[in-house]
Structures are given as structure tokens and as C-alpha cells.
């Protein structure tokens, strides 16, 4: 294993250990409620950037995948009383199938046409769920949390830890893709699809793969949300806000490196949490918009791109 890989895995283990210790030590429930949302944002942004960043296919369907993840859990709980890990795995499996279907239908379209198709996906699925009585229909559905399993003495703390694990899984996959031939192929097709094809890159297959992985992760991230809220309704599960904020986080952080979406999500997620508590949730959207505009103008490559540029300049300056 390379040194950077070892460093990465040590970092991941330390992160999970810290999260675990936090659930044992901190008594106040609020940090877990807020932290869960931030972790969820990180995982979503990282998952999104596998297709949206590496391949450059801007997906507005995050809310569709997220919502399907939520409802996969709802269904598994009300039909079989399935435990949390089963809910998440079911979510991931459905997300993968959905990614495959979406990819087969839409990945032949390029640029903006793909993006429009993904918005349509959200609406189609939301409408379907709204009309499906078994999972609550338009009125939504209440879900009973089971007791938390040890060592957690509270369900939200457990969900917090589970979401942290999902973050690590998403980041590890994203990092692996970036450093492997898959990442190189995706980067090539993002730069120039025809040139990539003529250099031997199976573009359609790689895009499908990215779409499947990205979709599976986004659904898996959505799955625990049903238990987190103890309630699900189509309007909030498929809220377009998820699509917009996820995209903004990934773009603000920078999509060229796996760490970009993490930075963006932490920055934006934390700001949003703080603003929601201190001012109002409406100011949230305003700040989101402002930041997006600022970054598009000032640092189109995101924070990672900005750091890269500054470093490059410094190096050139030395010579």
C-alpha cells in the first residue's frame, strides 16, 4: 500500500473513533442532530461528484436518489420491520438499479440535456410515491424507531455514527475511483468525449458505472433519514433543495479532487446549520446563492482548484 493510502485509512479510523467517542461522551442531543445533517451533506456531495465531478455529467437528480433511499427504508420497515443495515443495503441496491436505468435512458444525451432529464426523474418518482398509499402517499407516514443497540444509548447517536461510516465508505470509493483507471477514463471523457472514445475509453460503460455507484451511494445516504426524522413525506424527501445544495457543495469545494466535495460540504453545511439556528432557514438559501455566485466568478475550480493555483504560483515564483 502506498504511503498516502496508509495515511488516508489512518485518518478514516481516527475519524470514526472520534465520532464513536463523541457519542459516548457528549450528552447533549443537539450536536448529533445538526452533525447528522452535515455528515449527510458530505456523503451526498462526495457521491454526487463521482458522476457530476469526475465525469462532468451534472446531475440534478440527487433528491430523486435521496428520496428513493428514504422510501426504500420506509417500505422495508413497514413491510418487514427490517433493521437499519438491511434498510441501507436495500437502499443502495435500489439506487444502483435506478442509476443503471437512468444512465441507460439518459447518458447518451450530453451536457444540459442530461441535466434536464435528471430533474424530470425527480418529479416522476415523487409523483409515483405521492400516489402510493402503502408508504403513506401524499400525507406521509410515521415510523417507529426501535430501541438503540449498544454501545449507543440513543438512536440519534447511533444514526450519527452510521452516517459517519457512510461518509467513510463514500470517500473511500471516490478516492479509489480518482486514483484508478476508472477515474482517468472519466476525466478523459469529461475533457473530450470523442477523443476519449478514439483513445480506447469505453465512454458509455464508464458513465454507466459512475452513475450506478453515485446512485447507490446517494440512496444509501438517504436510507437512514427515515429513522432520523421518524417521518417521511414525498414533499420533503424529494425536496429539490437536496439537489441544489449537493451540487453547490461539490462545486464550491471543487470536483477535481476527492477532498473537494468534503471541504465544500463542511463549509456550506456548517454555515447553513449556524444560519438556520441563529437567523432563519430562509437566509440559508440566500447565502447559498451568494456563495455559489462568488465561487463561479472568483474560483470556478472551487476551493481545491484555488489551493492548487496558489501552490502552483508559489512554485513558479521560486523558480
Amino acid at each position: 500500500m502506498k504511503r498516502s493510502s496508509i495515511a488516508f485509512w489512518i485518518g478514516a479510523v481516527v475519524f470514526l473513533a472520534a465520532v464513536l467517542v463523541m457519542t459516548q461522551v457528549v450528552g447533549n442531543q443537539y450536536p448529533f442532530f445538526a452533525g447528522y445533517v452535515i455528515l449527510q451533506s458530505i456523503a451526498l456531495a462526495v457521491a454526487w461528484s463521482i458522476l457530476g465531478g469526475y465525469a462532468g455529467y451534472v446531475n440534478f437528480g440527487t433528491s430523486a436518489f435521496y428520496g428513493v433511499g428514504v422510501y426504500a427504508s420506509v417500505f422495508m420497515v413497514s413491510a418487514f420491520g427490517a433493521p437499519l443495515p438491511v434498510q441501507i443495503l436495500t437502499g443502495a441496491a435500489i439506487g444502483a438499479l435506478m442509476g443503471l436505468a437512468l444512465g441507460l435512458l439518459t447518458l447518451r444525451m450530453q451536457g444540459i440535456f442530461f441535466s434536464i432529464a435528471t430533474i424530470a426523474l425527480t418529479i416522476v418518482i415523487e409523483t409515483t410515491i405521492t400516489n402510493w398509499r402503502y408508504v403513506g402517499g401524499a400525507a406521509g407516514i410515521q415510523i417507529q424507531r426501535p430501541a438503540a443497540t449498544s454501545p449507543f444509548d440513543n438512536y440519534v447517536q447511533m444514526l450519527f455514527f452510521v452516517q459517519a461510516v457512510l461518509v467513510v465508505v463514500a470517500v473511500a470509493i471516490s478516492r479509489y475511483i480518482q486514483n484508478s483507471w476508472v477515474g482517468r477514463g472519466l476525466q478523459a471523457l469529461r475533457d473530450d468525449e470523442l477523443a476519449a472514445e478514439c483513445t480506447g475509453v469505453p465512454t458509455l460503460r464508464l458513465k454507466l458505472l459512475a452513475c450506478v455507484i453515485s446512485g447507490a451511494l446517494m440512496c444509501a445516504v438517504g436510507a437512514p433519514a427515515a429513522m432520523y426524522l421518524q417521518y417521511a413525506d414525498p414533499g420533503s424527501a424529494f425536496n429539490l433543495n437536496y439537489s441544489v445544495t449537493t451540487l453547490a457543495m461539490a462545486l464550491i469545494g471543487g470536483t477535481a479532487h476527492w477532498a473537494g466535495p468534503i471541504i465544500g460540504a463542511i463549509l456550506l453545511g456548517t454555515t447553513q446549520q449556524l444560519l438556520t439556528v441563529t437567523i432563519s432557514s430562509e437566509v440559508n438559501l440566500l447565502v447559498l446563492g451568494l456563495m455559489l455566485v462568488l465561487f463561479v466568478v472568483g474560483a470556478p475550480e472551487g476551493i481545491v482548484g484555488l489551493i492548487h493555483k496558489l501552490r502552483g504560483n508559489r512554485k513558479e515564483g521560486k523558480i
Binding site: 476525466q187 478523459a188 469529461r190 480506447g200 469505453p202
Partner: protein, 246 residues
Amino acid sequence: MILSETQAPLLRICALTKRFGGFTALHSVSVDIRPGERFGLIGPNGSGKTTLINCISGAFRTEPGTILFRDEDITPLPPHLRTCRGIARSFQIPRPFRSMTVAENLMVALDFAAHEHVSVAQRRDTMMSILDQMGLGSKVNVSATQLSQVELRKMELARAMATHPKLLISDEAMAGLSSSEVDEVLDLLLSLASRDITIIMIEHIMQAVMRFSERVMCLDAGRIIAIGAPSEVMADKRVQEAYLGT
């Protein structure tokens, strides 16, 4: 020369037609390319040269008509599978992967089109030897966006070479270059041809075509108007008419 005429063709194009809506860009073009041949493709602007190579490389679907490569019908194959079979091309307007360095550009080709499983170290060696050969050895870690025009052309060829082709199609690799640069690229192509790679060269610079080609084909308005030895084709009345007008 006589020997190669009895050999099976490397590439056989049979009655290839390409239409864009009501416009027919290629009218039933048939031609055989022999293994190891240096083949020049000329014709006035809009005569269908690039369309023809887009059909060969798979960027365009063709109907009707078939393309056989080493006795295999490749007509239904997408471009990347044709590349893996051994057909590589450069683009008229260079299309580098802009977010990558020169090295990474070539690694894409080596990752995806390499025929045998080789280690990363071996791939790096192959990459370095191709770059050295192309005179880009000093540019390995330079971003593709920082290359000059002639370097971009060379990188196009280098990337095509990294796919380990049997047939290399060079689409106006010399357009817009100075005469010394033209000679540089021409020498590169000749050195590649001497290593058992069949080359189809599209070019407007006649002296380059004459120096390079063993056989020349001239297209005009999607039809073959002359094919044969370079001097014969140049002397052909219809070719002169096509270029100079009547």
C-alpha cells in the same frame, strides 16, 4: 510493392455511403489499404476526407457499406473497440484532454487500449519512449493547455501511438505549421511507417503528400476521382480540375 499487392488488405472499405440528411458526403466509396502502406488522402475542402476517416474510426455510423479490418467486419463496432482492434487517429483540430498533463494524456491510451496486461512501470516506460521518439520528452509533466501548436500535433500523434495501432490515421497533422515544423512532423510519420505501421495521411500540403505517400487517393464531392502513384494522381486532369476549378 508487387508482394504487397497480393497480400490481403489491412483495411477494406466496401461501397461506403454517408448521408447527412439530404446531403450525401460519401458516394459508395470502395478502397483497399494494404498492410504497411503509406497512403495519402487528398481532395479539396468539403470533399469528404474527414468524413471518410470519421467513418473508419467509428465516430460516424455508416449505412450502407461495410468496413473490414484484418478480415473482420468492424462496421457495427463503437470507436473504442475499433481503437482496441488497432485503428488510431489524430484529429484535424487537436483534441487533447485539457485537464491532464502530457503524460496523463498518454496514460489514458495505455490504460484502455493496451493489448496486453503490463505493469504500471512498464507502461511508464512505453510512454516515455513514445514521448522521446516524438520529441516531447521534456514536456512529460506539462499541462496539455500549455503546449504550442506543433507540440499539440505531436501529442495527438503520440497519444494515437500509445494505443499501439496497426493503422494510424493522421488528419491534417501539419495544417497551420511552419515549413520546418512540417518537415519535423513528416519525418515522425515516416519513422512510424518504417516500423510496420500502416498510415493514412490526410493532407493539403502537396509536397508533404508527394514525399510521404506510396499511393494517393483523391476525393471530390464524396467520390474517388483518382487513385494510384502520387505522380500519376497529380498529373490526372480531373484532380487538377478539382483543385483549380475548370
